[in-house]
């Protein structure tokens, strides 16, 4: 029997990731203007599973706070964090670039323009759809330009196409804002990201896309390791590098666009979470991607908890919280391991 240990998902880290998600879930549901005991919260959450019937000791009003107010918001935070981190890790692998984030190919600018248009033209209810469409169109245009522009279809061409498309869309967005100054505040608050929920509406919008993205990206995680030797060598190992790359980018962009549509532009999560995971748990995408999913989910749900409790009843923009707590933590991890690589 062999004693070789290939890079695979370490069960210890997997357990830690699931634990982090559970802690974020229970803390997020328990804490707020009315503090509920964590044990009772856990019991009520288990009661949502079929066939479970525990006594939590909570009254109906408290149960309603859990199932109708807090749980949807926490679940939305988990889903958005999972999507942004997973997509970020995926982009970093596809482009072999540590600075890649899920907004690289124009998702942010496209969604921003879509949202600005929805707000400026007083079509608020259509905002998620407009942001999603804007993000999707931007990525497709970037991809077509990148493929047409470079004979070798190198990733640098694609990144440059993303820069061009983003600048173009940002120019239109700025023009629209100038013409509709009264909407600046609303647009700005959307750009900073927020996890406001209206019951389970946002969660049900995002969930189908999140499932597709997760299944596709995780299924191809080993191919990302193969792609790290470059396209020529990956091809000599039997892969279709262009095809794998396109599928991965399409899946990651879909999840990002859906997340952005319901949460606005939350920065920092998609770039930092995969790096922290890489530094702590090793450089194989077979562990980076699933762990980014879990820790990204937990991180964003906890960040949202801070955002809504720190200056209650007011609320901080969640992007401020992710950067304020995430950046020092990242520097700490960086200093203790002293290497960043993709």
């Amino acid at each position: 029997m062999t004693t070789l240990r290939p890079a695979r998902l370490n069960p210890g880290w997997l357990t830690a990731g699931i634990g982090a998600v559970l802690v974020a879930l229970i803390a997020g549901v328990a804490l707020g203007p009315v503090t509920l005991p964590p044990g009772s919260v856990a019991a009520e959450l288990l009661n949502l599973l079929p066939g479970v019937n525990l006594t939590s000791g909570l009254n109906e009003r408290e149960i309603a706070i859990i199932t109708e107010l807090r749980l949807p918001r926490v679940v939305l935070g988990l889903l958005v964090g999972a999507m942004l981190s997973l997509a970020g890790g995926c982009y970093q692998g596809v482009f072999r670039n540590p600075l890649a984030d899920p907004y690289l190919l124009g998702v942010a600018a496209g969604a921003g323009l879509g949202a600005t248009m929805a707000i400026a033209f007083r079509a608020g209810p259509l905002l998620p759809l407009a942001a999603f469409a804007g993000a999707g169109i931007a990525v497709v245009v970037t991809y077509l330009l990148g493929v047409a522009g470079g004979r070798d279809r190198s990733s640098a061409t694609l990144i440059l196409a993303g820069v061009a498309v983003s600048s173009f869309l940002a120019a239109i967005q700025t023009y629209l804002l100038q013409r509709n100054v009264d909407t600046i505040r609303e647009v700005y608050s959307w750009l900073l990201g927020r996890l406001a929920t209206n019951g389970w509406h946002e969660v049900t919008l995002l969930l189908p896309y999140a499932v597709v993205t997760t299944v596709v990206v995780l299924a191809l995680r080993r191919e990302l390791d193969v792609l790290s030797v470059g396209d020529t060598e990956a091809a000599s190992l039997g892969l279709h590098p262009q095809r794998s790359r396109m599928i991965l980018l399409a899946a990651a962009s879909l999840g990002t666009a859906a997340a952005v549509a319901v949460s606005g532009l939350i920065g920092f999560v998609g770039i930092i979470v995969p790096h922290v995971v890489r530094l702590l748990a090793g450089g194989s995408y077979r562990s980076i991607l699933p762990l980014s999913l879990l820790f990204g989910a937990a991180f964003l749900a906890l960040a949202d908890l801070f955002a809504r409790t720190l200056i209650a009843p007011g609320e901080l923009p969640i992007g401020v919280v992710t950067a304020f707590f995430g950046a020092p933590f990242f520097i700490l991890v960086l200093r203790s391991t002293r290497r960043v690589s993709v």
Partner: protein, 255 residues
């Protein structure tokens, strides 16, 4: 084992290979030599399927055009001229990538894959490096790891593009001796490119001299490494001296 018939390769607007014929018998070591820009690496890349080509490439009786990519990767393994060194990747995981053509698209490596890799690592004396990151190895150690990945592919045809260009003279000999031993042990067929003519002649059964995208000479080292041919195609003035394992090519100053 390998038959190349009239292949043409165009990169950008330039045709690099203008109809090259080449055969390599099973178990044979053929080295392609030629001046810079002659198309040596392009020829290897075409055989490996890394660049598209016109003409016929037949491996083990099957035209490569009829081979799915994974099947082709089970028959041909390549060590590139300057392989990409993925940052942060450990030697073991790098060598395991060689098993990719055998792992189902959504699967993971089997116990068989691991034991094949283990055997390759032992045979190349790389066992003690498995936990090290590739970046931290010396040039000679890295070259052995690149070779290990190619061997893990279990392909009967091994393509080596300038396998020793980054190595000092001692490590060059070490790596080439290793390739020769592995070739005998595993009944491999080797197609290589090389710059150093004397070394190329010492290890290959046959040399193919490529010049401006065409085969200029093809035969045993003593027939290809002649002062006339080298003067004509390399525009070099050399002395060729008979050596123990093949001709020794010594450059001589022009004036």
């Amino acid at each position: 084992m390998l038959a190349v018939e009239g292949i043409r390769v165009t990169l950008g607007d330039a045709e690099i290979l203008h109809g090259v014929d080449l055969t390599v018998a099973s178990g044979e070591w053929v080295t392609v030599i030629g001046p810079n820009g002659a198309g040596k690496s392009t020829l290897l890349r075409a055989v490996g399927g890394a660049v598209p080509s016109h003409g016929k490439i037949i491996i083990d009786g099957t035209p490569t055009s009829a081979l799915p990519r994974r099947r082709r990767a089970q028959l041909v393994a390549t060590v590139a001229q300057q392989p990409v060194v993925p940052p942060g990747m450990r030697v073991l995981d790098y060598v395991l990538l060689g098993r990719t053509p055998y792992i189902a698209p959504l699967g993971r490596e089997s116990a068989d894959d691991l034991s094949i890799v283990e055997q390759v690592l032992d045979s190349l004396e790389l066992r003690r490096f498995i936990g090290r990151e590739l970046e931290t190895l010396s040039g000679g150690e890295r070259q052995r790891v690149f070779l290990a990945r190619a061997l893990a592919q279990g392909a009967p045809l091994l393509l080596l593009d300038e396998p020793t260009s980054a190595l000092d003279i001692g490590h060059q000999q070490e790596v080439l001796e290793l390739v020769d031993r592995l070739r005998r042990e595993r009944a491999l067929t080797v197609l290589a490119t090389m710059h150093d003519l004397s070394v190329a002649g010492e290890y290959a059964d046959r040399l193919v001299l490529l010049a401006e995208g065409r085969v200029a000479a093809d035969g045993p080292p003593a027939e290809v490494l002649t002062e006339e041919l080298l003067a004509l195609h390399y525009r070099a003035r050399v002395r060729v001296i008979a050596g123990e394992f093949g001709p020794i090519v010594v450059p001589v100053r022009l004036s």
